[in-house]
Amino acid sequence: MIIKNLSRTKRICSFIIFIYIVIAIISNFIMPFSIDDFSSEILQTPSFKHILGTDEMGHDLFSLLLNGFKISILISIISGILSTTIGVILSFVSCYYKGIIDNTICHIANLLIIIPEIIIIMFFAIFASPTMINTILAIVFFSWTKVFKMARSKLMGYMDKNKVKYTFLIKGNIFDIFKKLYYDLYPVVITSFILQCNKAVMYETTLSFFGIGDPLSKTWGKLIKSAMNYENLFYDNVIFWYLFPPVICVFIYILSLSLLIFDEK
C-alpha cells in the first residue's frame, strides 16, 4: 500500500534500507568468525576463507563489517526514536502552554542551531565515560532541535482547527490535544525520524573516528579509524578491502536515508 505511492528512487532506497536491517538482524548467524577471535593469520588478502582479508591483529574483516551493521544501525534507530520523541513532546508542550515556556524552549532550540551540533556532542561524549549508552545520549540530547522546529511549525498551524478549539473548550489537557493531533503529525514524525537516523549514523561515525565512545563496540566508524591508523594502508591495494568497505557501507546507508525523505517537486 505505502510502497505503491513511492517513486522509483524511493522504492530502491527503501529496499536498500530493508536489506541493511535484515543483514543487521541476521548478522550474528552469518558471521564466519567471532569478533573476539583474532587467531587468524594477520594481514591476509581476500580469499574464500576471509572474504575481506584480515587486519593487523588477525580479526576477520568481513565479520567486523557485519557486526558494524548490527551496532551502527541499532545506535541509529535508538537515537532516532529517542530524539524524535523528545522533539515531538517538547513541541506539544510549547504549543500547549505557549507564553514563557514556549519562548524558553524556542530560545534553547535556536541556540543549539547557532552552535555547531557536532562540537557540543563531542564535548559531551569526551567528558562522559566511554560507553555506548553515553554516546547515544550525547547524540539524543543535542540533536532534537530540527524535529522540534518542524513539529512546532506544523502544530502551530493546527492550533486554530475546530477540533482543537473544542478540546480547549471542554478543558482538555495536553494528552487530549495529543490524542486529537497525533494523526495529523504522522508524516512529520516519519520524516524527522528518518532524518534523525541519518544524523545519528553520521555523528556516531564522526565520534568513533575521533576515538570517542565505547572502544569495544565495533561500529563502522571504529573500522574506519583502525584502517586509517594502520600505517601501510596505501601500499599493495590494502585500502580496497580494509578502508573502502566500511566507508561504502556508511555512504550507501546515509545516501538511501536522505534520498528517502527528499521531496521531489
Partner: protein
C-alpha cells in the same frame, strides 16, 4: 528592537557559558563531577605539575558557586586552562592555530558560495534543472565531511601522488619567501577542494529553493503578462530579489564551514584548530576541548549577530 536582540545575545552567551561549565560537572564519569575517586586516578596518571595546574584552574573542591565565579573570571582574561597533551596554555594554542582555520574556512566559503549561488540561479532561470541533479546534491550534502576528505586524500594524494597529503607547508622552508607562499598554496589545494565540494550542495539547494519561490511571486507573473523581455525579468525582477534572501540564510552555511574545516584539518593534519580537536579527543584533553567549544560557540554567535544586525537591517526586502 536592537536592544531586544542584544539582550537575546547576552542570554545566549550566558547559556553557553553555563552549558560549558555545568556539563563537565554533572556528566557521570567526568573528572570534574563530585567524585574523589576520579580525581585520585587523574592524580596518579598525570604528571605532578599538570595535575596541579588542572586543580588550580578548576578547583573541584570549592563550592559550586565559587567555581562558576572563578570560571567566568578566568574566561574574562582569556585564560582557558592548561592543556594536558601539549603542556601549554590553551589560549596560546588556540589563537596560534586560528589563522589557518580562518584561512581555510573563509576561502572555501567565498569560493563555494560564488560557484553555488551562480550555478543554482543559472539552472533555475533556464529551467534546466533535473531531479537527478538535486538528488546528487542532496546525496553529497548528507555525506560526513571527513569521509569525503579520507577518500580524496587516499585517492589523489596517496594513490596518484599528485599533491601533498598533509600539513600546511613543507617542514624546513623559510617563512615568508616566494617558495613558502607557493608551498602553502600547493598544500591548501586538497583541503580546500574537499571543503568546497562539501559546501556547494547546501548553498545550491538554498539558492535553488529561494529562486523557485521568487519565480512564482505575483510581480514576476505580472511582468510576464506585460510582455517584458525574459532577460530583463531575470535581471531586474528575479536576480535582485534573490540576493538579499540568500544573504539572510547564509549564516548557517558559515557555521557549517567552520565545523567542516575542523574535520578536514583533522584528516589532512593541517595545523589548524581541527588538529587540536583531534588530539584533544584522542587524549581526552579536557581544557583544550572546552576552549575549542567556547571558541566555536562564540564564532557562531558572532556570525549570527552580524547577519541579524548588519545584513537584515540594511538590506531591503523586495
Amino acid at each position: 528592537m536592537k536592544l531586544r536582540v542584544l539582550v537575546k545575545y547576552f542570554i545566549y552567551i550566558f547559556l553557553i557559558l553555563l552549558i560549558s561549565f555545568v556539563l563537565p560537572r554533572i556528566i557521570p564519569g567526568s573528572p570534574l563531577s563530585y567524585n574523589h575517586n576520579d580525581t585520585y586516578i587523574l592524580n596518579q596518571s598525570l604528571p605532578e605539575d599538570t595535575f596541579n595546574a588542572f586543580e588550580e584552574y578548576y578547583a573541584p573542591n570549592e563550592p559550586f558557586f565559587n567555581q562558576f565565579y572563578k570560571y567566568l573570571y578566568n574566561l574574562s582574561r582569556f585564560d582557558f586552562g592548561y592543556s594536558f597533551y601539549y603542556k601549554l596554555p590553551v589560549s596560546n594554542l588556540i589563537f596560534g592555530r586560528l589563522p589557518w582555520t580562518l584561512l581555510l574556512s573563509f576561502t572555501s566559503i567565498v569560493i563555494s558560495s560564488f560557484v553555488g549561488i551562480s550555478w543554482a540561479i543559472k539552472t533555475s532561470l533556464l529551467n534546466k534543472s533535473s531531479n537527478f541533479k538535486i538528488g546528487m546534491m542532496i546525496a553529497i550534502q548528507s555525506m560526513p565531511t571527513f569521509l569525503v576528505a579520507i577518500l580524496i586524500q587516499g585517492v589523489i594524494a596517496y594513490k596518484l601522488k599528485l599533491l601533498p597529503a598533509w600539513g600546511a607547508y613543507k617542514p624546513g622552508t623559510v617563512f615568508f619567501t616566494h617558495t613558502f607562499y607557493l608551498d602553502v598554496l600547493l598544500h591548501l589545494i586538497l583541503p580546500l577542494l574537499t571543503l568546497i565540494l562539501c559546501e556547494i550542495p547546501g548553498i545550491y539547494i538554498l539558492t535553488y529553493n529561494s529562486s523557485q519561490k521568487i519565480k512564482k511571486e505575483n510581480y514576476v507573473i505580472m511582468a510576464r503578462y506585460l510582455n517584458i523581455e525574459d532577460k530583463q525579468i531575470n535581471q531586474q525582477f528575479i536576480f535582485k530579489n534573490i540576493i538579499p534572501e540568500i544573504l539572510g540564510k547564509l549564516n548557517i552555511q558559515l557555521i557549517y564551514a567552520i565545523t567542516g574545516s575542523l574535520f578536514v584539518e583533522a584528516i589532512f593534519s593541517y595545523p589548524g584548530i581541527g588538529q587540536l580537536l583531534k588530539s584533544a579527543a584522542s587524549s581526552r584533553d579536557y581544557p583544550l576541548i572546552q576552549g575549542i567549544l567556547i571558541l566555536t560557540c562564540f564564532y557562531g554567535l558572532i556570525v549570527n549577530f552580524i547577519f541579524e544586525i548588519v545584513l537584515k537591517n540594511n538590506t531591503e526586502k523586495y
